[in-house]
């Protein structure tokens, strides 16, 4: 099985913390789905993709989020060599799973749905774990679980706090039970981190469903959400089909979750960096966990041929 990946050697992932984050717009103007305002695409990017008129938070690619949060140049990416296997020899109507992965990699410029690494936020070290919804709907598979477990274990070794930015469309069906088991694997990693009294800050962003919502993302020490983000376990279409009931207004929005006691607070994208800095300072008390120097080398060398 080790070989199938080499067949697709033409793909080479890019590194760095500020690339791959913009989808080329169909046109220069974007219509806000909330207030219908036409926004000039570059202006939207400049405002962190928040509608300047109504505050609607557009989805963001993972690397865009990283760039907005971290000190420039401080993100050191980890485990970029990890690639999905195909333990089920899974084939569906769209063909074999490995082909689907390859097409997705080419389309998105990412090798998997989860990006992990360590960064600094105004000088404070922080392990950062960010999901990319464009990669197979940020479905959680074995690579996700392994990258996250490694990142959290490293945080534990170094005494760093962890922040996760969580989006997901659900399970990575193509990996079957392995996908389900990543819920256990990720939760267990954070259970260990908690025993070291290191905090996990979780940000839920649109959309966040399925196994991610039902695992580490919602049992963090601090659970935040972006305004208007849809967050739930079962998807809205599934619930409608099964229950044949009309969904309540605002069902599964961040605001709905706040009212129902499921999140600590809603944070606007522009306030996130400041809020994360405050949280780090509150929990990483007074130099008790001395920030280890960020390794000075570039991001892990990716040597996939």
């Amino acid at each position: 099985m080790r070989n199938f990946f080499k067949r697709q050697g033409k793909f080479q992932p890019r590194n760095g913390d500020d690339r791959n984050d913009q989808i080329i717009p169909e046109d220069l103007w974007v219509k806000c789905p909330k207030c219908s305002e036409l926004i000039y695409s570059k202006e939207l990017d400049r405002s962190a993709r928040v509608c300047p008129k109504c505050g609607h938070h557009f989805r963001l690619r993972a690397r865009h989020r990283i760039r907005l949060l971290v000190d420039p140049g401080s993100f050191e990416e980890w485990d970029t060599g990890l690639r999905p296997e195909d333990p089920l020899a899974f084939v569906d109507g769209q063909g074999p799973y490995p082909d689907k992965v390859e097409r997705t990699q080419l389309k998105t410029g990412e090798v998997e749905a989860l990006i992990t690494g360590v960064c600094r936020v105004e000088g404070r070290p922080l392990v950062l774990v960010v999901a990319d919804f464009d990669f197979l709907g940020a479905s959680m598979g074995s690579v996700w679980g392994e990258k996250l477990a490694r990142a959290v274990e490293r945080a534990g070794e170094h005494g760093w706090p962890v922040m996760t930015v969580n989006a997901s469309g659900g399970a990575r069906m193509h990996e079957g039970l392995f996908s389900l088991m990543q819920m256990a694997k990720t939760v267990s990693a954070f259970h260990r981190l908690g025993e070291r009294r290191l905090p996990h800050f979780s940000l839920l962003v649109d959309p966040c469903y399925g196994g991610v919502t039902a695992s580490y993302a919602t049992v963090a020490d601090i659970v935040m959400a972006e305004p208007g983000a849809l967050i739930g376990f079962a998807g809205q279409r599934v619930i409608e089909q099964i229950t044949r009931q009309k969904l309540p207004d605002g069902f599964q929005t961040a605001e709905f979750l706040l009212e129902h006691g499921m999140i600590d607070f809603i944070i606007e994208r522009q306030q996130l960096r400041q809020q994360v800095r405050t949280l780090i300072d509150l929990y990483m008390r007074d130099g008790e966990n001395e920030p280890a120097p960020v390794v000075a080398t570039a991001a892990s060398i990716d040597v996939d041929a």
């Binding site: 690639r83 333990p87 074995s142 919502t213």
Partner: protein, 298 residues
């Protein structure tokens, strides 16, 4: 346990397909949690309620004596008729169910009682009110609770292990599975709908999802398979008794490996539990491949 090509050419009947297993796992008269409790446990005292909102009858539990020791037994429970199915929500737990399970696990931990879970659900309840009360959060809390629970835990998939609703009582030191049970990230029907947009493709989905006990064992997820020389619904007494023997053996193995009466033993048991799930995954490290072939690129 895996299907053998030889079988196809021998006189023996063909091995069951994945879809056959799905149908066996779902057989109407396949033994349920209550049947196992009645046959294997004595002095069962069912404990109700999450102390928060309600009592979920889709997930039951209580203290009982099992082969001489007091244990906590927790399992999914559907109904045997329409009325009971409705009151038990067809065995699909709501947040109250997971929270009851968590309460019972903390209770077991307090009194040093081993936990036995019996998994049999098509999955978590997909309803509006379950979302309102934090279905995802409740499942996640269950996982967190089980990773920290300082008593031995043995989980057995007795019929259908469906999605997060199954996993929520599926974290333990040993995971057993009956030969005709299935365990899957989603129902074959859901998978067929999502990936083929055709629920009729469920048999194909079941095949490609690798949901059988043999698959789960091959993947290193399941520790042991309880054989069903005859399907459980045809020979319930024999299969239940065999399951009891496997559970007893698993508890003995854990207790002799770790001595959970001591602090160090508990720590080692929790380490092993962590390690068990830490190791589950199918991935490769492309950078190591490249190192293997000694052709690094930067």
């Amino acid at each position: 346990m895996t299907t053998d090509v030889d079988e196809m050419t021998s006189d023996a009947p063909p091995a069951p397909t994945a879809w056959d297993r799905v149908k066996l796992a779902r057989a109407t008269d396949r033994p349920t949690t209550q049947d196992y409790v009645a046959a294997l446990f004595t002095d069962f005292v069912e404990l109700h309620g999450d102390r928060l909102f309600g009592d979920d009858r889709a997930l039951i539990g209580g203290v009982a004596r099992f082969r001489g020791s007091t244990v906590m037994v927790i399992g999914h429970q559907g109904g045997t008729n329409t009325k009971e199915n409705i009151s038990r929500n067809f065995g699909m737990p709501r947040p109250e169910g997971y929270r009851k399970a968590q309460r019972l696990m903390r209770h077991a931990e307090k009194f040093g009682l081993p936990i036995v879970t019996l998994i049999d659900t098509s999955g978590a309840d997909p309803g509006i009110s379950s979302e309102e009360r934090g279905q995802g959060t409740a499942i996640a809390e269950s996982l967190m609770t089980m990773f920290g629970c300082r008593v031995p835990i043995v989980c057995t998939v007795i019929a259908e292990g469906g999605s997060g609703g199954a996993l929520a009582i599926g974290i333990g030191d040993r995971l057993l599975m009956l030969e005709n049970a299935i365990y899957a990230v989603a129902s074959p029907e859901a998978c067929a709908t999502i990936l083929w947009r055709d629920v009729e493709k469920a048999p194909e989905a079941a095949e490609t999802m690798r949901v059988t006990a043999a698959d789960c064992y091959r993947f290193g997820i399941v520790d042991d398979i309880v054989p069903e020389p005859q399907p459980a619904h045809e020979a319930p007494q024999e299969v239940i008794a065999a399951t009891g023997d496997f559970i007893e053996q698993a508890l003995r193995d854990i207790q002799s490996a770790f001595d959970p009466e001591t602090e160090d033993g508990v720590a080692a048991m929790l380490d092993a539990r962590y390690g068990k799930f830490r190791a589950i995954g199918a991935w490769r490290d492309a950078s190591l491949d490249a190192l293997d072939s000694a052709t690094p690129e930067s």
